[in-house]
Every structure is written in C-alpha cells, then in structure tokens.
C-alpha cells in the first residue's frame, strides 16, 4: 500500500515540477520527486542507492535553488489554484496505470552478487578513477576562484 502512495506522490510532484510557472516552486516539486524516489529505493531494499539519492539530491537542489533565484523572471501570470488542482487530478489519474497494470517480465536470472562485493571488488577501478576526476574538477574550480580573487583572468 505504501508503495502505491509513494508512486502517486512521485507522479504528482513530477507533474507539478513541469507545470508550475514559478521556477522556485518547480524546484521544490523536484525536491519532492527526489525524496519519493529515494523512499521507493529504500522500501525496495536498495538502501545504499537511497542514501546516495538523498545525498546527491540535496546537493543538486541547493545549486538549483540558487540558479532558480538567479534565472527566474517574474512570470507573466501566476499559476492559478484551479490549474494546479487540474494538474494534480490528471497526475493522480496517470498514477493509476502503474498501480493496476503490469508488464510481464522474464524470470530473474541474476548472479546474486551483493552490493558491497559488486562495488568494491568488481567496480573498484571505476570508483578510484571517478574520485580522481571529481578531485581534479574541485581543484580546478578552486584555482579559478583563487585567480579571480587575485584579479587574474
């Protein structure tokens, strides 16, 4: 039952993120989408992915809020309550499809490798390389900010 409620919330927040006129409200709805997705992962047993979704989602949303404030212009017309309610009703109707329909899938043929083993034994070089790339980007940003502060181009 709780999965159904979460999926309804996910689709409603996704629709609101698209259809709300104000950029900041749209980002708030996107935050709801991230939160519902992470809860769905958590309840389906993918705990580590849920934690990553929370952590990454919070970082992305912080940057999105700032950019939303910088980019947003006054909308020509505000979203009326009636149109917001229409979006909610339409998305609630849309969310009936995943609840009552199902796609037949072939039987699971997984190797059953646990997450920790898959991450550290099979994908360890990827993680190390990705860490190096992210560290290089962070150092590059720090150098650019330092140069700007000292008046360089």
């Amino acid at each position: 039952m709780i999965l159904e409620v979460l999926s309804v919330g996910l689709i409603i927040s996704a629709c609101l993120a698209i259809f709300l006129d104000e950029a900041v409200y749209s980002v708030v709805a996107l935050a709801g989408t991230f939160m519902f997705t992470a809860l769905l992962f958590l309840l389906n047993g993918a705990v580590y992915v849920a934690i990553f979704q929370f952590a990454v989602g919070i970082g992305t949303l912080a940057v999105l809020f700032l950019s939303g404030e910088m980019l947003s212009e006054k909308p020509k017309q505000k979203t009326s309550l009636k149109s917001a309610l229409t979006v909610i009703v339409v998305s609630a109707v849309l969310s009936l499809f995943p609840i009552f329909l199902s796609v037949p899938l072939s039987a699971a043929s997984g190797s059953g490798v646990p997450f920790g083993e898959a991450l550290w034994d099979l994908r360890a070089p990827d993680i190390v390389l990705q860490g190096l790339v992210i560290m290089t980007v962070a150092i590059g940003i720090a150098i650019v900010l330092y140069e700007r502060k000292n008046g360089g181009d």
């Binding site: 749209s26 997705t37 499809f97 099979l122 980007v137």
Partner: protein
C-alpha cells in the same frame, strides 16, 4: 505495483516538458526527470532481481549525473547573464539576429 510503467510515465512527463517548456530551468528540470525515470527503472529491476552490480552501476552514474548537472547549470547561468533572458525562443531570436548582422557585414 509495476515500476516499469511508473518509470515509463515519468519518462513521458519528462519528454513532454522537454518539448513544451521554453524556460531554460524548466528544460533542465525535465532532463532531471528523464534521468530519474531511467534510474528508477534500473535500480528497481536490479534490486528486485538481487543484482548488486546494477545498484553499484547506478551509484557511479549518480555522481556522473550530478557533475553533468553542475556543468549544465553553470552554462545556463552564463547564457542568461550574457543575453539577459532565459527564454529559449528569445535566445534563438537573438542568435538569428546576430547571424543576420554578420551576413550583412560580409
């Protein structure tokens, strides 16, 4: 409860937003929704089949996705500061005018 159909609907919402919205930030939000739909499908199938490798791939994909989002947002802010608008139609109009001016100068 079927996660394939759920992610399909999320994908449809994202594509609809990508095609209809004119504000740059809304386009970015649509791209995020499409990425979320793909992640949802991948992780749900992997975890329901007990495949840890699928979840490990998605953890790696999250960080890549975030880095790409950061670069896209930086570009959006630069474009909107330079041209003074974040509307795609106006940006296209400005670019067309600039090209016309360059052709006239030649």
């Amino acid at each position: 409860m079927d996660f394939v159909i759920l992610s399909l609907i999320m994908l449809a919402i994202g594509i609809y937003g990508l095609l209809t919205q004119r504000h740059l930030l809304k386009v970015f939000v649509s791209v995020e929704l499409i990425a979320t739909a793909a992640t949802l499908n991948f992780v749900m199938l992997a975890s329901s089949m007990g495949l840890g490798l699928g979840e490990a791939f998605m953890v790696l994909a999250f960080s890549t996705d975030t880095a790409v989002s950061g670069v896209i947002l930086a570009l959006l802010v630069i474009v909107s500061k330079k041209y003074g608008t974040s509307d795609m139609d106006e940006l296209m109009k400005l670019e067309t005018e600039k090209l016309d001016e360059e052709e006239d100068a030649d």
